[in-house]
């Protein structure tokens, strides 16, 4: 039996426990807030409560056996995820504050941070190119009503 805590099957343990927690929370919320009804006339809470319970059980079924098992650490880059998600947030929050052009350029710069090539030249050029493309396609072509530039005070 492996006792080294670093080599436990953490993905299954944490994933299973998280799902069990979500399931329990959903079932609890459904039971507390919505009418359960009867089997003949199910209320809005019936189906989610059953599903929540089922998810709790399944989460534990995934997590508990994994406590006694080892596994390799998963190899997906956290930096890539961080940059990509941050780029979407920058775009979503910036669109109506700084306008389409600036939001696009900023999001592209953030997204390109983890790309496997150093240097700022190509990143700036890419940001400019995609901003132009976006304005042409979505602003002029599809005529989506979006502010192109920051609103002047």
């Amino acid at each position: 039996m492996q006792r080294d805590p670093m080599h436990r099957d953490w993905p299954d343990i944490l994933g299973g426990l998280a799902l069990a927690a979500i399931g329990a929370a959903a079932a609890g919320w459904a039971l507390a807030q919505y009418d359960i009804g009867t089997l003949r006339r199910m209320g809005p809470g019936f189906f989610p409560a059953i599903l929540g319970g089922l998810l709790t059980v399944l989460g534990l079924v995934v997590a508990l056996p994994a406590l006694r098992r080892r596994s390799d650490a998963p190899g997906i880059e956290p930096l890539a995820a961080l940059a990509v998600l941050a780029a979407i947030l920058v775009f979503g929050l910036g669109l109506f504050r700084i306008g389409l052009v600036a939001a696009t350029a900023a999001a592209v710069l953030v997204a390109s941070l983890p790309a496997p090539r150093p240097g700022w030249g190509w990143r700036l050029a890419l940001a400019a190119a995609i901003a132009l493309l976006t304005v042409v396609v979505f602003g002029l072509g599809l005529r989506m009503s979006l502010p192109l530039w920051p609103r002047l005070p």
């Binding site: 993905p11 299954d12 944490l14 994933g15 799902l19 979500i22 399931g23 959903a26 919320w29 459904a30 919505y34 009418d35 009867t38 089997l39 003949r40 006339r41 199910m42 809005p44 809470g45 189906f47 989610p48 599903l51 929540g52 089922l54 998810l55 399944l58 079924v61 995934v62 998963p74 997906i76 880059e77 890539a80 995820a81 990509v84 998600l85 780029a87 979407i88 947030l89 775009f91 979503g92 929050l93 669109l95 109506f96 696009t104 999001a107 592209v108 997204a111 390109s112 983890p114 790309a115 496997p116 090539r117 890419l126 940001a127 995609i130 493309l133 976006t134 979505f138 599809l142 989506m144």
Partner: protein, 496 residues
Amino acid sequence: MTTWEGLLYGIGFALQPAVLIYCVLGVVLGTFVGVLPGIGAMAAISLLLPITYYITPEAALIMLAGVYYGAQYGGSVASILMRLPGTPQSAVTSLDGYPLARQGRAGVALFTAMASSFAGSMIGIAVLVTLAGWLSHAATAFGAADYAAMMILGLVAASTIGSSSPAKGFAMVVLGLLLGCVGTDVNSGVQRFTFGRTELLDGINLVALAMGLFGVAEVIANVRDPDRQGVTERIGGRQLLPRRDDLKRLPGPMLRGSALGSFFGALPGTGSTLSSFLAYALERRVSRTPERFGEGAIEGVSAPESANNAAAISAFVPTLTLGIPGDPIMALMLGALVIHGVQPGPLMLEARPEMFWGLVASFGIGNLLLLVLNLPLIGIWVAMLRIPFRWLYPAILIFLCLGVYSVRGLSFDILAVAAIGLAGYLLALARFSPALLLLGFVLGPLIETNLRRALLIGRGDPMVFLDRPIAAGFVLATVGLLALSLVQVWRRRRAR
């Protein structure tokens, strides 16, 4: 309408300029996306979902289907030339396709892939037409209990068959079902899990969910990809023509692959990835020279390509006739139809013939287009293979954000994509299948409605699922599958 009348009607419908253009758009975009490693058919269909809001449901379905089988053509190009399958279905093709390319026979491998895909899709169409007519006739006898039992069987099949961990698969399906509950409950009007956000009244946006789980997750997984290298010599003209001994080897694998593909494609939960693996394994077993496989056997390219294209088409059988998607891609297609207020089911063949026969005809037209267009365009696809991913993915992200925004005009949806993308990343990290989550999400409301209706009709007696022979059959099959997967898990544990 007889089959021939239907086909003629469908061809007439699909050749209308307003429909044909979406077929062409679908197959070209699909090939484009399939060629680019790192974006699969799933992500491509998610990215294009917003466009379908602006066109008729028939055109939308034809376009999305075109993206699906177009992506398989494109995926085979990438896997033959670069051993970088753009889609999981074409991963098998690279086993023999890439060695062929290394031997300077890339053209022949590409020709084989395309001809086999075409053969597979033609056989898939024949199977679709035959089975759909028969099945929608049978399904008119289905009641609510039968539907509920069948959908549950579909979900159980999807999460157990070919899965290394059925418990993780089930957990994803159930999480999907639970997410499907978010929004206004149809029966009572109660708002469930909306936490006061008006944006959630109609439930979680399918486009945002699909884009977050597939588009964003696939971008994240490929961001650090180094620039690609592979066989990129000029290909065209006579190099594409196979030798006579190549041609003699082709009919067998094509027929066997197509038969296998159309069978497994029509079953719920199996889909085209499994069928291309099985077709390859079968070819190797029946071959008199199995040692050639892996070294550049042309049969090893032909069989999986026929199989995955046949499966891609026969997968529409349960989706269109029963309204039950067999795999996550079909779930997205169904979602796109539901957005338009079209609910596929046994009555659709009669009630919306243009939808069914138009789609069938578009399969033929689209595949013919792919065959005719792709042979001369192969040079362009090869050139595109060299575009570094680092130029593409920031643009993909921006288009994704604007696409999801365009659906409802809410910037809330862009932020939702980021949140769902984070969830998708964590799921990938813990090796849970987001595809099963989506399947559960799309089927959730349908299951709940049918379950409630069945129990209302049955006066609250759960025996209603065993009294009806059809429902009882599905329940029995579900229990059988569950028992089988428990036995498998138990055996694996004992073997350790």
